[in-house]
Amino acid sequence: MALRVLLFVWIAGALLAGFLWAPTVENLGETTRVLYFHIPSAWIAVLALAWSMLHSLLYLRTRRLEHDDQAAAAAELGILFCIGATASGSLWARAQWGSYWNWDPRETSIFFVLLIYGAYLALRSAVEGDERRARLAAIYSAIAFVAVPFLMFVVPRIYATLHPSPILPQQGEKTGMDPRIRWSFLAMLVGFTGLFFWMMSLRVRVTRAERRRLETREAGA
């Protein structure tokens, strides 16, 4: 309970710091503020994917449904953060360079992550039976795990093919220039990570409670 409050206070504080205390980056102007939301979201989207894949592999190993609960919850939350990251990135690109989408490496990567999430969740929704769903989803997760390094490798080359002459400026997101920006940003990163794991614990608890409810009902009222 106390942790929850602390988490909210922390995130609120980081946001305030980001908006009021930290300055803006040279040529980005007020749009700088997006980086406090956009990058942490993207970071969580990737973290959640890794978490989900790890637990999928653990499920195949141990066949304990707890791992599947983790994998599913991570995917459900991950896609939310991923949509947030994609959308905020797109808006930022529009504000900065006048175009919503350019298939540059970062945009392409986050889009692929979104596709993988979508496929995983679509697959889950098409299977009945806890064990079967867990098993099939885990298998898909394992294949995606193999594909991800290749996707990351392929991504910069897609960009190079579509934009043979670099028209767009370097994305200056990692401007650790002003320490105030850096600190606010890191604080948001930590805050988001905390938020993710807190939401995960809630989600997993709900899943377990639902399963117990179903079992007690079936066991005979």
């Binding site: 039976g129 806890d130 399963r211 179903l214 079992e215 079936e218 066991a219 005979g220």
Partner: protein, 223 residues
């Protein structure tokens, strides 16, 4: 030539289960069961509908993974892991279907080929003969009646002369002649191997010396 009449080499087979269960969410399915049976002989598995007779047979065959407990199959003192069970198990159950676009003979020949057996067509013909389908071997499966398909299932289970025969409701769809065939087959196979019959019919479980009674909640159980 009647390969089917030659008795199979009698290698000792034992099948044990310890708390073996397969439960779906909500505790339905096969409740934990323990038993130990061995060849030669015949065992019947009985229980109300939904108590998990078919599930138990599938677990024995290695087609299904248990949610709890374990089963151990040993042949000649060597343990046979679930992945390898299909080689020593003959399985026939109502949901076993054949390839409609192939004939009965082609289906069995394919099965024998895939199992890596020598002379697949010869074995297939012998199996068909044993179940009385020799004249219908060339017919496509779609042309077979349900009784004939049941005989085909029996032939499929006997094809590779397995030491463990798992028969789920072997008498279904069969006329008197068919049922007599089942009696004969069980009688022949129980002399050297182990036959497990899952059934609710008294006529069938009377064939067996031992009986495993499954106590499940069943489908119609209001509780």
């Amino acid at each position: 030539m009647n390969a089917a009449a030659a008795p199979a080499a009698a290698v000792a087979l034992s099948l044990e289960a310890r708390g073996l269960a397969h439960l779906y969410t909500g505790r339905r399915g096969l409740q934990p069961v323990s038993f130990a049976v061995a060849s030669p002989g015949a065992v019947a598995v009985t229980g109300v509908n939904g108590s998990g007779k078919s599930t138990l047979l599938r677990l024995m065959a290695g087609l299904l993974r248990p949610t709890a407990g374990a089963s151990a199959l040993t042949l000649g003192g060597v343990a046979v892991p679930p992945a390898a069970r299909r080689e020593v198990v003959g399985f026939a159950s109502p949901e076993l279907q054949f390839y409609d676009e192939f004939s009965a003979l082609e289906n069995l020949a394919f099965a024998a080929e895939a199992r890596g057996l020598a002379d697949p067509h010869g074995l297939a013909r012998a199996a068909l003969e044993r179940v009385g389908l020799a004249s219908r071997g060339g017919d496509r499966v779609t042309a077979l009646s349900s009784g004939m398909k049941q005989r085909l299932r029996l032939a499929f289970a006997l094809l590779h002369r397995p030491p463990l025969l798992l028969l789920d409701e072997p008498g279904s769809h069969l006329d008197d002649e068919g049922r007599a065939l089942v009696d004969r087959v069980v009688d022949e196979e129980r002399r050297s191997g182990l036959v497990v019959i899952a059934t609710n019919e008294e006529r069938e479980w009377r064939l067996a010396a031992e009986r495993i009674e499954l106590r499940g909640r069943g489908l119609g159980d209001p509780a």
